[in-house]
């Protein structure tokens, strides 16, 4: 049993030199990543840079071809059977971009089914905990509704509560606000913010730059399956070292993205030569 001091030094998650390819498409090309217990870590970067794949490797949904993954005491890359990976997944929560609630179950049943069937909790206790979690994400009034009757933001909050119902050690968030309209993004981010403040270990893949800057202890910037740069949120967002990070943030934060003021008559096809006209 290691002493508390050494445990605090050892990261909860550590990835070393992760390589993964789908066929000839090399998605991850040597990822190193550490997450300390109680930290909120964000992974940012352009689409297709392998961010979501990293999360799927951590919980054993995908198996990398090379490299070491450790979650707590579990050597994920050494797990051979599905049964061993199931033991890992009991400790790791996952929230998806498309919520992926079970449409044939009510909100409450969505939260209760995994603790009951997987962890073997009794119904009454699981239901009581589920109601408490729904109150936490401010969805207790919809306990008997079905996912199809909820808005995207409401479904995503239920999905977060469903992950929490397993009492995980850490939660992975995979672009959880990307499918939401701007108005409902806030309600989901508030829930995540509260979780990080309570000391839940969170790994977020996100395109919400302001949010990432605000809540993250550590930010990783990935591109083309490599970690380009990592550091504290302040360091990455205020003083990025890599030119590529600087360019990405400049675009993502929208300084250069403004469209120029309208000039002239929109009905006048002044730049018609741009369109190849053939008769």
């Amino acid at each position: 049993m290691p002493s508390p001091e050494t445990r605090a030094e050892q990261p909860l998650i550590s990835l070393r030199d992760i390589h993964l390819s789908f066929g000839s498409n090399r998605v991850l090309r040597g990822i190193d990543l550490d997450v300390q217990r109680g930290q909120a870590v964000s992974i940012i970067g352009p689409s297709g840079s392998g961010k979501s794949t990293i999360l799927r490797c951590i919980t054993g949904l995908l198996q990398p071809q090379r490299g070491n993954i450790r979650v707590g005491e579990t050597e994920v890359h050494k797990l051979k059977s599905e049964a061993q990976r199931i033991e890992l997944r009991k400790r790791v929560g996952f929230v998806f971009q498309q919520y992926n609630l079970f449409p044939h179950l009510s909100v409450l049943e969505n939260l209760v089914i995994a603790p009951r069937k997987v962890l073997g909790r009794n119904s009454a206790q699981a239901e009581q905990e589920a109601r408490a979690l729904l109150a936490k994400v401010r969805m207790e009034h919809k306990a008997d509704a079905y996912p199809g009757q909820l808005s995207g933001g409401q479904q995503q909050r239920v999905a977060i509560a469903r992950a929490l119902a397993m009492r995980p050690e850490l939660i992975l968030f995979d672009e959880v606000t990307s499918a939401l309209d701007p108005e409902t993004v806030g309600e989901v981010l508030t829930v995540i913010r509260e979780l990080t403040e309570e000391g839940m270990t969170c790994v977020l893949v996100t395109h919400e730059m302001r949010f990432a800057e605000d809540i993250s202890d550590v930010v990783y910037f990935t591109e083309n399956g490599l970690i380009v740069e990592h550091g504290s949120a302040e360091q990455i967002f205020q003083r990025p070292v890599s030119e590529r990070t600087q360019a990405f943030l400049r675009h993502a934060l929208g300084d250069a993205g403004r469209r120029p003021a309208a000039a002239g008559d929109p009905y006048l096809l002044s730049n018609i030569s741009r369109y190849g006209l053939s008769v």
Binding site: T59, I86, Q98, G148
Partner: protein
């Protein structure tokens, strides 16, 4: 279902279909008051109990065939989605063979391949023709149910699998708790459609000597020997099959519309 305007404006059936109702009443009046005077209607009235018994035989065959076909089909469908090729291959062969064989050929096959009685222990048990026809129809039914089942499982988005796996469900638990409950709802409309088709297929039973509705109609037509009666009795046969299968197809349509959005 807000987009379905007829659902938002509920009208009782008689008020929505006044024309059909009047036509039905006129037909009933014609049968009740016109029948006794004409020998053709009198003969139909006389033969109607036999026709009812014959149609009962058709319904019995169809119900048994769909029951056996469904149980067998679910088993074969489950084998067909197994990750092991050793179970998948025989299931695929079964489905391909029985889905692509003409039903009449299968009925002749079961009728003449199986013995007419079975020797179990010391006793001989009769193996009547109608049971053989039932098996003959259950075979293609099972292949179709298996295919409906496989299609339903395939139609569940893979994200449902991923979400359940991330919640530490085992493969068996995912099937039982997440995938199958969603499948059965999707399977219901095509399954009922298949039942209606099988009911119509029971008309083939008369060809191997089962005393079903068609067989009874043929006997009646030959016995009474009136051209008008022959026309009328086959119209009655048509009406009986239609009266049985049409509501099934309407309920199927209703279910398809209801489940289309969820």
């Amino acid at each position: 279902m807000a987009i379905d305007s007829s659902a938002s404006l509920p009208l009782s059936w008689p008020r929505r279909h006044p024309g059909k109702l009047v036509l039905l009443a006129a037909l009933a009046l014609l049968l009740i008051f016109g029948a006794p005077k004409s020998p053709v209607f009198a003969a139909l009235y006389e033969w109607s109990p036999a026709l009812a018994v014959g149609f009962g035989q058709n319904i019995l065959i169809s119900l048994l065939a769909i029951a056996i076909g469904s149980l067998l089909g679910l088993l074969i469908g489950a084998l067909a989605v197994s990750p092991l090729w050793i179970t998948r291959l025989p299931a695929r062969i079964w489905v391909q063979v029985f889905r692509n064989a003409p039903w009449l050929v299968l009925i002749y096959f079961t009728t003449y391949v199986f013995p007419f009685e079975l020797h179990i222990g010391k006793s001989w048990i009769a193996f009547p023709d109608w049971v053989k026809v039932t098996i003959g129809l259950a075979l293609p039914a099972s292949a179709n149910v298996a295919e409906i089942f496989r299609g339903a499982i395939g139609s569940i988005p893979s994200t449902q699998w991923e979400a359940s796996r991330s919640l530490a469900f085992t493969r068996g638990q995912i099937f039982r708790s997440i995938i199958l409950p969603q499948c059965f709802k999707r399977m219901l409309p095509p399954w009922m459609n298949l039942y209606a088709v099988i009911t119509m297929g029971t008309a083939l039973a008369s060809l191997v000597g089962v005393h079903d509705l068609i067989d009874t109609a043929q006997i009646a037509s030959n016995t009474v020997n009136l051209t008008g009666f022959t026309v009328l009795i086959y119209f009655s046969v048509l009406a009986l099959f239609f009266a049985y299968c049409y509501p099934i197809s309407r309920i199927t349509q209703f279910l398809e519309r209801r489940y289309a959005f969820s």
